[in-house]
């Protein structure tokens, strides 16, 4: 499984974490990442409104020739965006595990301020340890 990149968006659509794990996606400027996050947040909201199915959860998967993006939104409104190579199955398992790591190493870190950008060394380390062996 090749994971290209992981983004985390707070409830308001602000980008609080971005990390590349492999080549394959174009590097953006930090400002562009913020715009990307905000745009996705808006598109996600719109897709949930225009869905013909009542109670739809909004855009979940975006697929192109180069990558597959999966969005996992928690009940609190936090979004995890996982970019992987196309046709990767079981990305949702990765999403859930990343959520657990977030609950452990971000939420339980007293020095992390809620809704703010994530700068937690332990989170980086454990995320890397989880993603790397998969490559």
């Amino acid at each position: 499984m090749v994971i290209l990149s992981i983004l985390i968006l707070n409830k308001a659509g602000g980008l609080i974490y971005q990390r590349d794990f492999n080549e394959g996606l174009k590097k953006l400027s930090s400002n562009d990442y913020l715009v990307l996050a905000g745009t996705f947040h808006g598109v996600h909201a719109i897709t949930s409104r225009i869905s013909p199915v009542p109670g739809s959860g909004g855009l979940e998967v975006l697929e192109s020739d180069q990558f597959r993006m999966q969005c996992f939104q928690t009940l609190t409104g936090t979004k995890f965006l996982v970019f992987a190579e196309p046709h990767q199955p079981n990305i949702d398992v990765v999403c859930r595990r990343v959520y657990e790591l977030y609950a452990d190493y971000v939420m339980k870190n007293p020095f992390y301020q809620i809704e703010m950008p994530i700068r937690c060394e332990s989170f980086d380390r454990h995320l890397m340890a989880y993603i790397k062996p998969k490559q």
Binding site: S48, G57, G58, T76, G77, R96, Y102, K108
Partner: protein, 191 residues
Amino acid sequence: MSSTKAARIGEEVWKTRIDKVNAELVTLTYGSIVAQLCKDYEGDYMEVNKQLDKMGYNIGLRLIEDFLAKTNTGRCINFRDTAETISKIGFKVFLNITPTVTNWATDNKQFSLVFEENPLADFVELPDDGRAQNELWYSNILCGVLRGALEMVQMQVDAHFTSDVLRGNETTEMRVSLIRIIDDELPPGDD
């Protein structure tokens, strides 16, 4: 979710997915926090209650993510469902207890949690100063935790203790009331 299903999930998660530590470390740590507050606020127990509730609220905002990540619980269909989930899954996985859900108000917006056991208060006796037993809610942090955690899943609640065996009452009981569903903050697509 039925009460029995919630209980089964709670047991399962507690057994298989929860990292554990010695219970006395948790009990002593909480005791140390309360004792420090009592010292810092010079026995102003009302203020201590407030601080404990505030700390609990901060915890709740964070703990909800841990709860959701570990238990994989979906959105509750109503407040009764919420009550069962709090008791049988929430309290189970964090404190290994399942307080009884009881005393429902007729509008289904208020219930009580009755605690048979409370690991936070194990081996605790309140100060014998003639005031603590009337003023201090020793486990008040739990009220804040519920308030904070539920707020993150769009439920504004009030939670407070109405009795405590540490005060000489026959039971330890917390009253939880739903104030409103925070509609405007529902994550898009989840309504």
